[in-house]
């Protein structure tokens, strides 16, 4: 067994807040061996990030290390005469600064905000070199270029002079990693390194960290809430909850034989592939939904035969191009713009939950905005079946449009930005009722109370403002607001991606129950395949504005046909060490480039394939020859 690099002993960190003292970390001990990977797992507020910040002594100013030791020994500190206690050093003293960025470095979750927007990548990476080594600017630049090559920048020399905002999310995180590793630290702290990234990019970054770790022989302290990432990367796991270590051990032990109830609960709360049919997630804190009679009071039942008129929503050939901004009065040029949505056709039957999957920028949000008439497409049609009467959604005006708004409602991704902080919860939920003139004041109050019960919130909290609710509670307020008008169709745009894993299960189950009880229809937009797998009956896979594959849920997961779908599925890390990511056959960035998909899937100037039906409702965008091959 290799030497212990870092030993944290009974660490306690306190925060001074206006209301008193918050004990964020209450006696945490763990160790990291040289060259190994330790994962610190927990939901937000568990103190895992605070523990990491203490190791680097970059805690916020109102935080203090109250007690405990952080012993670091890389064989170089103290001239090799034993460990140094980081907790005893001055946070901004010379000794600590030499460790920070030199022997221990960190990468953060959000590569965009973690890099300065005003300095070039080369400047920021070589700055790290010059802080810790006596080298000239030119030598530092050479080292930076070498490091950028190691993190597989396509053109390291040019990358030195680019600014972070000119790079894609994946490349930004690579630049961040290069900056952290350029001084060859003994320990890399990775604080949610892939949470903000798309799955395929996440898989690439995980592989990169693994490769570099082997190359440079460093230890990694991985901080994450994603058990899938843990199962793929960590040697040892430390589970934290409310500032304490709940359980720790090797990866195999933790996943095969979880002892602590919290860890067991956490494992049961995560949506994963290969769940038994009908199996429900078990949220850590479950909620009950009740009531609903008032909501149903003025809901007209569907007349028999109404469904024969067509599906609830039918989208045909929708296209939307965002124009490039015109440049001033002089020298204006006609911009080509970007095609956000191209040739999208699908239908949603009443009572169905259709999942829409794709990576960021694939056009899924644009599409959902078109469906609710927040954006007007350039071409195509959207038809809505209102109790047997087919409505042309894009042609609606005035009163008819207002009436349509009652049928389709939207739940947003960000539970913080989507609720007005200056309105009470009552006002927020009642607002749709006021706008559509439903009921008098007394009746609205009754309805709002019922809606609170429906999403499992306490009706006594109606006078409160959104800030006093947690993320999951706020998202439920958003759902209550969307339900207030008793819509037929709910557009759910990444409803759980901003929530903690433990809360995800709660909201997902709530959505499932509501759909069942109220007979709702969902369009569930998400980038998380496991979540879509849990929720949806039918799945649409979208890439670069086009739907590339659509199939019933089982068919898609059993037999993915399109290379993009396959890449997506292959890139999802599963919370199961026995099913590791096949990191070797990840195509670097090729999976989401339509021109590089192999025939018959290629989309370029010469090839414009359409959706081909493979039977059983399984469609894939490919040349017509695919049918022959599939049959053969």
């Amino acid at each position: 067994m290799s030497r212990t690099l870092l030993r944290v002993e009974d660490l306690k960190v306190d925060f001074q807040v206006p209301g008193g003292v918050v004990h964020a970390v209450r006696g945490v001990s763990f160790r990291v061996r040289a060259g190994s990977t330790v994962a610190l797992v927990g939901e937000s507020g568990s103190g895992k990030s605070v523990a990491a910040q203490s190791i680097l002594r970059i805690l916020p100013r109102n935080a203090t290390i109250a007690d405990g030791k952080i012993l670091f020994d890389d064989g170089i500190v103290n001239e090799g005469a034993g460990p140094v206690d980081i907790a005893g050093l001055k946070a901004d003293g010379t000794a600590m600064r030499a460790l920070r960025g030199g022997r221990i470095s960190i990468i953060f979750q959000e590569p965009m905000t973690s890099l300065s927007p005003l300095h070039t990548v080369g400047d920021q990476v070589s700055e790290a070199v010059r802080l810790h080594q006596r080298v000239t600017a030119r030598q530092a630049r050479v080292q930076a270029e070498d490091m950028l090559r190691r993190v597989r920048f396509p053109d390291p020399k040019r990358a030195l002079d680019t600014y972070p905002f000119e790079l894609s999310g994946g490349l930004r995180q690579r630049a961040m990693i290069a900056m952290a590793l350029v001084c060859r630290p003994a320990l890399l702290i990775a604080d949610e390194p892939t949470t903000a990234l798309d799955v395929t990019i996440q898989a690439q970054i995980l592989k990169l960290i693994k490769d570099l770790q082997a190359d440079l022989g460093m230890a990694v302290l991985l901080i994450t809430h994603d058990l899938g990432v843990v199962a793929n990367l960590a040697d040892e796991v430390v589970v934290m909850h409310r500032g304490r270590v709940m359980e720790s051990g090797t990866r195999e032990d933790i996943f095969a034989d979880p002892r602590h109830p919290y860890l067991k609960a956490l494992l049961r709360a995560v949506p994963r592939f290969h769940m038994a049919p009908g199996e429900r997630l078990v949220p850590i804190r479950s909620i009950t939904s009740e009531g609903g009679s008032l909501l149903e009071k003025d809901h007209q039942p569907w007349p028999p035969g109404a469904d024969a008129a067509g599906p609830l929503l039918e989208v045909e050939g929708v296209r939307k191009r965002y124009g490039a901004r015109k440049a001033g009065w002089f020298g204006a040029k006609a911009g080509a713009g970007t095609l956000a949505v191209d040739d999208v056709s699908f239908a949603i039957a009443r009572g169905e939950c259709v999942g829409l999957v794709g990576e960021s920028g694939c056009g899924k949000t644009t599409l959902s905005k078109i469906l609710m008439r927040a954006l007007t497409p350039d071409a195509g049609s959207v038809r809505f079946n209102d109790h047997g009467r087919i409505v042309d959604v894009l042609g609606l005006e005035g009163a008819a449009l207002t009436a349509f708004r009652r049928k389709v409602q939207f739940v947003f991704q960000d539970p913080f930005g989507s609720l007005n902080p200056r309105m009470t919860v009552f006002d927020i939920i009642a607002e749709p009722l006021v706008i559509h003139g439903i009921g008098d004041e007394a009746e609205r109050a009754e309805r709002v109370k019922e809606l609170m019960g429906l999403v499992g919130l306490d009706a006594r909290h109606l006078r409160r403002y959104p800030h006093s609710f947690s993320g999951g509670q706020r998202q439920r307020i958003g759902i209550a607001r969307a339900l207030a008008l008793r819509p037929e169709l709910l557009l759910l745009d990444e409803p759980v991606s901003a929530l903690d894993v433990s809360i995800q299960a709660q909201v997902l189950n709530l959505l499932k129950d509501l759909k069942e009880r109220l007979g709702l229809t969902y369009l569930f937009v998400s980038h998380n395949l496991a979540v879509v797998d849990y929720m949806a009956d039918r799945i649409l896979v979208m890439c670069r504005g086009r739907i590339v594959e659509s199939a019933p849920r089982e068919a898609l997961f059993r037999n993915p046909v399109h290379p993009y779908t396959r890449a997506l599925l292959a890139a999802v890390p599963e919370p199961d060490p026995s099913r590791p990511l096949s990191l070797t056959d990840l195509e670097e960035g090729r999976a989401s480039d339509p021109a590089r998909w192999p025939a018959p899937f290629t989309i370029d100037e010469d090839h414009q394939p359409h959706l081909v039906d493979l039977g059983g409702g399984h469609c894939v965008r490919a040349d017509a020859s695919i049918r022959v091959r599939e049959v053969a």
């Binding site: 901004d92 953060f108 973690s114 890099l115 790290a128 000119e166 900056m179 490039a324």
Partner: protein
């Protein structure tokens, strides 16, 4: 980038034209013209004016022509560097304004410099030591500066400057230098007198700037890239200057455009109180007596200053911030 600069300069032309139209309309808005004001004034003093002479004056100044012709004449004149004729002073506008403009420029420049030199360190101190005793004291002084009427401050300062330093009250120089050619003694006298108006005019601006810099910097100090800089091992001082301060500078720079005309015109009342030989009091008088060419030239001067100021701050912003330089117009 060059294309942007050229385009930006070209856009300034229609902007200034539009401003000139508005300026001309505004100075023509009050009923009557300079001559009717003059006649009224003479009548109130019991004097009278010969109708023939009045008509003659009206013709020489072009006041009997239609409005658009007057405007065209005025505009054409300005393009040739002829700003018209001041009725009140019976001199070409450029002669009337001449010296005052340069003094105004000196005072304004000194004021802006004062604002920056004072507000910059205080703003940084206040932001980095938020809610400390020093922050509270400086914040209190800042609000005091914002709230005190500048003419009151001017009177107080004049009194103490006279009592303590024996500086002569009012003006920008000792009375014996007025009308004299520039000399060492005159320059020294200007400097001796200038610090009071600079402080008085600059106080409100300084206080506002401190508040703004403090707010900007506080926003930036909590951004993740500051933590990144610390995590690299950068000493706190260098990290502060290189990263958050650099970003917080943007609003500072974009303020140049607003600051210039504000300092020039906002100082009018103070200038009246302190009888400074700057443009402010003259503009006031010209507007009151409907001395249209003088007033118009002043207003145009302010407009040009604003437009150039905004142009300069745009250029400085583009130089400072690669996001503006590189992604402007392309994304979104």
């Amino acid at each position: 980038m060059l294309g942007y600069v050229i385009r930006r300069i070209l856009i300034m032309i229609p902007t200034l034209l539009a401003i000139s139209v508005i300026t001309f309309v505004i100075i023509q808005l009050p009923p009557g013209d300079y001559l009717t004001t003059l006649v009224n004034e003479m009548q109130s003093r019991g004097e009278s004016m010969d109708q023939g002479r009045l008509a003659m004056l009206r013709e020489t100044y072009g006041l009997d022509r239609p409005m658009y012709e007057q405007y065209a004449l005025w505009l054409a004149g300005m393009l040739r560097g002829d700003f018209g004729y001041s009725f009140e002073y019976n001199l070409p506008v450029s002669d009337v304004v001449g010296d005052r403009l340069s003094l105004t420029a000196i005072v304004s420049f000194a004021t802006i410099l004062f604002i920056w030199v004072v507000s910059f360190p205080i703003g940084i101190y206040s932001a980095t030591r938020q809610y400390s005793l020093g922050d509270y004291v400086l914040t209190f002084l800042g609000f005091l500066g914002l709230a005190t009427p500048s003419f009151l401050l001017a009177l107080v300062m004049l009194y103490f400057a006279n009592v303590w330093f024996g500086t002569s009250i009012g003006g920008l120089m000792d009375p014996r230098y007025i009308g004299q050619p520039w000399s060492w003694g005159k320059a020294m006298s200007v400097f001796e007198h200038m610090w009071i108006p600079v402080i008085v005019i600059g106080t409100a601006g300084t206080a506002a700037m401190i508040r703004r810099l403090r707010a900007n910097l506080l926003d930036e100090l909590h951004k993740p890239y500051v933590v990144t800089a610390r995590a690299k091992g950068l000493p706190p001082g260098r990290a502060l200057v290189k990263y958050p301060l650099r970003v917080a500078l943007n609003p500072f720079v974009s303020d140049i455009g607003n600051l210039l005309p504000q300092v020039v015109s906002g100082a009018a009342i103070v200038s009246v109180v302190m009888s400074l030989p700057t443009t402010g009091p003259m503009l006031l008088q010209a507007l009151r007596s409907q001395d249209m060419y003088l007033a118009g030239s002043f207003l145009m001067f302010l407009a040009v200053l604003t437009v150039i100021g905004v142009f300069l701050s745009d250029l400085a912003l583009a130089a400072l911030d690669p996001r503006i330089r590189l992604s402007g117009g392309a994304s979104r």
